[in-house]
């Protein structure tokens, strides 16, 4: 019968009406992100609260968009000192290559996804400021570094 397809279509829209919403009321309710979701890069810290970064610069060289920058100086004892670890979150495409490349697990792709901001200065973040870099041994959490 001509028109039966249209009636069937209306039945389907009726069926969908009773299926209930799949959306949530966003700012009040939030959906859980999967474990692997990649958002803004964040530094990691060891149990004592010291950053695990050893200032090896692998992440800086790895980033395809050059959004990471480490300003490193030498301490009096000859170790590395991180003056600033700058991360340009506004230009980051969250590919995760820096985190994959980090041999010390010192950075992670956090689940911070609300990255909109009113202040353009927030688009450049300083992840670490004026801290001593971890030694490779301490970063790996063992003696056989």
């Amino acid at each position: 019968m001509w028109g039966s397809g249209i009636l069937k279509g209306m039945a389907i829209t009726m069926r969908n009406m009773f299926r209930g919403p799949i959306t949530v009321m966003y700012p009040e309710q939030k959906l859980a992100l999967p474990e692997r979701a990649r958002w803004a890069v964040a530094p990691r810290y060891d149990e004592e609260g010291a950053p695990k970064c050893t200032a090896c610069l692998i992440c800086v060289n790895e980033c395809p968009d050059h959004v990471l920058n480490l300003e490193v100086s030498r301490t009096a004892e000859g170790g590395k000192h991180i003056d600033r670890y700058v991360y340009e979150v506004g230009a980051c495409m969250m590919c995760g290559l820096c985190v994959e490349a980090c041999p010390f697990d010192a950075i992670e792709m956090s689940h911070e996804y609300e990255l909109a901001t009113r202040d353009p200065h927030d688009l450049v973040r300083v992840l670490l400021r004026d801290v001593d870099a971890a030694s490779a041994r301490r970063a790996k959490g063992g003696d056989d570094a």
């Binding site: 001509w2 028109g3 397809g5 249209i6 069937k8 279509g9 389907i12 829209t13 069926r15 969908n16 799949i22 992100l33 999967p34 474990e35 692997r36 979701a37 990649r38 790895e62 395809p64 495409m93 969250m94 590919c95 995760g96 290559l97 994959e100 490349a101 792709m109």
Partner: protein
């Protein structure tokens, strides 16, 4: 005002003469109008028009409502991806290719991985091949869903689009759980894939498979089962077999014109030789055929995903991957069947850490080239539907 003599013939409409000024305010009729001469109108469709998919600019020459000729003007989304790839190391290039075909990034990533592996002679574990095929099929289904929804919108059907986006959301959740991102995956790398399936995603895919058939049948009934939709699609936007071949069309558009060519079966790669699937074909090459072929492909997708998840082998998801991969000098080409057609990558290496030249053979570019042949002779309202049936992605066309 010029001193040009005006035609002062009185207007005659069904025998009535109007000697006075015309209702529009003109005192005389402009020259030429008395001959009832009409001229063609050139209409700019896009690049900001909502009915064109993305920033596509089409110049349409109209005679009334009939399309006389059409020409696509490209380049509004050009980002120089091919050139940028020359300054990226081999494992960094997938981040660019995700943004070339942003609806189905895993296909271009896999094409890149296959090209590099071919030239560098890298063996890929069986598990990685299967994971790639699984992710590509999930991505193909998600991509066809976008096409199905927007195609319905082009024809004026709003409701299916919303249901289809709901279905796509389930798929994107699965893909996000596996790759870590919803659209910019960066998952397939030369040498394998970035990570194995996470725990729990298997059940998620099976839960989706349970409802996928029902939802697809419903969406198909809403569009393909609708008589008005079928009447509009039949016989419009016809691309015959010879034209399709002459323009180098591939994918669903080519198969709708009756050419039996699918890279998954004819030039097998990844896990496809071990899988069982059919290639839907069209006859006439009109919009209805392109619709039927793509919906048929979606049914095959569900079948393939079921096989892939059931037969997923054990093993390592990746062989040895290097951040400083050196590919020997030479050239290679590998292609995958993306939702839009043959997505091929031609790689020229000079033996360094970065490609010497990367060339993307984007299927939508070739499918769009036929726009003049497909649109001419039809009506302007059908032109929008025909354009939608080609399933173009501007990110890939402009690169």
């Amino acid at each position: 005002m010029t001193d040009e003599p005006r035609v002062t013939m009185p207007i005659t409409a069904e025998g009535t003469t109007f000697p006075g000024p015309l209702p529009c305010g003109l005192r005389c009729i402009p020259r030429g109008v008395d001959e009832l001469a009409t001229e063609h109108l050139v209409l700019n469709m896009g690049p900001q028009h909502p009915s064109t998919h993305g920033v596509l600019h089409i110049l349409v020459e109209l005679d009334g409502e009939e399309v006389i000729a059409a020409e696509a003007s490209l380049g509004y989304l050009h980002r120089g991806i091919e050139k940028l790839a020359e300054s990226r190391r081999y494992h960094q290039v997938p981040t660019l290719l995700d943004r070339a075909d942003y609806i189905s990034g895993l296909h271009s990533e896999t094409a890149w991985a296959l090209t590099v592996e071919k030239l560098a002679g890298i063996e890929v574990p069986r598990k990685a091949s299967w994971l790639r095929a699984l992710l590509m099929e999930l991505n193909r289904y998600a991509s066809h869903l976008v096409w199905l929804g927007t195609f319905g919108m082009d024809a004026g059907a709003m409701a299916p689009f919303l249901y289809i986006m709901r279905d796509r959301e389930m798929l994107l959740d699965i893909i996000e759980a596996i790759t870590g991102s919803r659209m910019m995956f960066n998952y397939v790398r030369p040498g394998g894939v970035a990570a194995d399936l996470p725990t729990g995603v298997d059940a998620k895919i099976r839960a989706w498979l349970d409802v996928a058939d029902t939802y697809l049948d419903e969406n198909d009934a809403l569009l393909g089962g609708n008589e008005i939709f079928r009447l509009r699609m039949k016989g419009t936007g016809v691309i015959d077999r010879a034209t399709a071949l002459a323009f180098g069309m591939t994918g669903g558009c080519l198969r709708a014109s009756g050419v039996d060519y699918d890279l998954r079966r004819d030039v097998p790669y990844c896990a496809y030789p071990e899988l069982d699937f059919e290639v839907p074909l069209g006859v006439r090459g009109d919009n209805m055929d392109r619709y039927d072929v793509r919906v048929g492909e979606m049914r095959q997708c569900i079948r393939l995903i079921r096989q892939l998840i059931d037969g997923m082998p054990e093993g390592e998801p990746s062989g040895k991957r290097s951040r400083v991969l050196k590919v020997p000098a030479g050239e290679s080409y590998a292609a995958v069947e993306s939702p839009r057609g043959e997505l091929g990558i031609h790689l020229v290496s000079d033996g360094g850490f970065t490609p010497y030249r990367m060339r993307l053979r984007s299927p939508a570019y070739f499918n769009l080239a036929v726009v003049d042949e497909a649109l001419a002779g039809g009506l302007i309202a059908d032109a929008i539907v025909t354009l939608g049936s080609l399933d173009i992605v501007l990110g890939e066309i402009d690169r």
